[in-house]
């Protein structure tokens, strides 16, 4: 029986990807600062990329890496739009705290 830690297998990468994704999820859920919420979304996308690259290596197929490239492109677009919205919001409401923006709440 091999050790749990030593030979690095796919499982190690899967657990690392899951950890990054969950840390990002926690950041989105608990933080009030919108800039840090956007950063947490980047963390989540990175966790997904770790998984895709690990499976790409396992199967010896580059399609996983191509998916990761598309995810990076979408993440960049999302960051640009998100930060644009953030600046417009800050200009109108003078706040970047997520729970102070409650115009649509009742």
């Amino acid at each position: 029986m091999e050790g749990l830690l030593y030979p690095i297998t796919l499982t190690h990468y899967l657990i690392l990807g899951a950890a990054l994704f969950l840390i990002g999820t926690l950041g989105v859920l608990v933080r009030r600062n919108l800039v840090i919420i956007l950063m947490s979304i980047e963390l989540m996308l990175n966790g997904v990329n770790v998984n895709l690259i690990a499976f790409s290596r396992l199967h010896g197929d580059v399609q996983g890496q191509i998916f990761a490239i598309f995810i990076i492109a979408v993440a960049v677009a999302e960051a640009a739009i998100g930060l644009g919205i953030l600046i417009a919001l800050f200009r109108n409401k003078m706040t970047v705290q997520a729970d102070e923006i409650q115009l649509l709440k009742w």
């Binding site: 926690l26 859920l29 608990v30 993440a75 960049v76 644009g84 705290q97």
Partner: protein, 190 residues
């Protein structure tokens, strides 16, 4: 093989520690710097997995582009007084419990998957790294520009829309109002 394990654990530690610091620091600039550390860790894992092109893309695009954009926005929205505010939601305990539950479920799923896969006789063969005759970037380019040409072009469209949208959204409201007023004035003249 041992060297591989040492590098994996160093990069994994960098990635996870950076991620945890990102979501716990009060100062947004510290968060952005921790995010850079985390992204460097993930980039190192890409290199370890023989994904050299993605390693370069990660460094150039994420660390050179996205985090610099984050730092610029942090400077613009001036978060000096935000450091003194409450950083976490009132329901952070509930969120922590939910995320830990999701983590347990995920680890259970991964263990189940590993159990199923390792029972397969070709698991070891599939896990063996295949010897590539050409470089990683060439192989990606081959597949990207043949099989995935349409999604590639759609991505370029998405990026154009994102660039125009970001410029429009971040533009000053007064400028927008002024141009609308000018258009109305021109309309009245006509």
């Amino acid at each position: 093989m041992l060297l591989n394990a040492i590098f994996f654990y160093s990069f994994a530690l960098l990635a996870v520690a950076g991620a945890i610091l990102t979501i716990t620091r009060a100062n947004a600039v510290h968060s952005a710097l921790s995010l850079i550390a985390s992204l460097i860790g993930v980039a190192g894992l890409f290199l370890l997995q023989e994904a050299e092109f993605l390693f370069a893309v990660q460094i150039l695009l994420y660390i050179g582009g996205v985090t610099v954009l984050f730092l610029f926005v942090i400077m613009l929205v001036n978060l000096d007084e935000a450091v003194k505010l409450r950083q976490f939601n009132r329901l952070w305990g509930l969120a922590l419990v939910a995320v830990l539950g999701a983590g347990l479920l995920t680890i259970g799923g991964i263990a189940r998957y590993q159990h199923q896969q390792s029972a397969r006789p070709d698991w070891a063969i599939a896990a063996a790294p295949q010897v590539a005759t050409e470089g990683n970037t060439e192989r990606i380019a081959d597949v990207l520009f043949s099989e995935y040409l349409v999604p590639f072009e759609a991505t370029s469209l998405l990026l154009i829309v994102a660039v125009i949208g970001a410029v429009l959204l971040a533009r000053k409201r007064e400028a927008l109002g002024a141009s609308t007023a000018a258009a109305e004035a021109r309309g009245e003249e006509i």
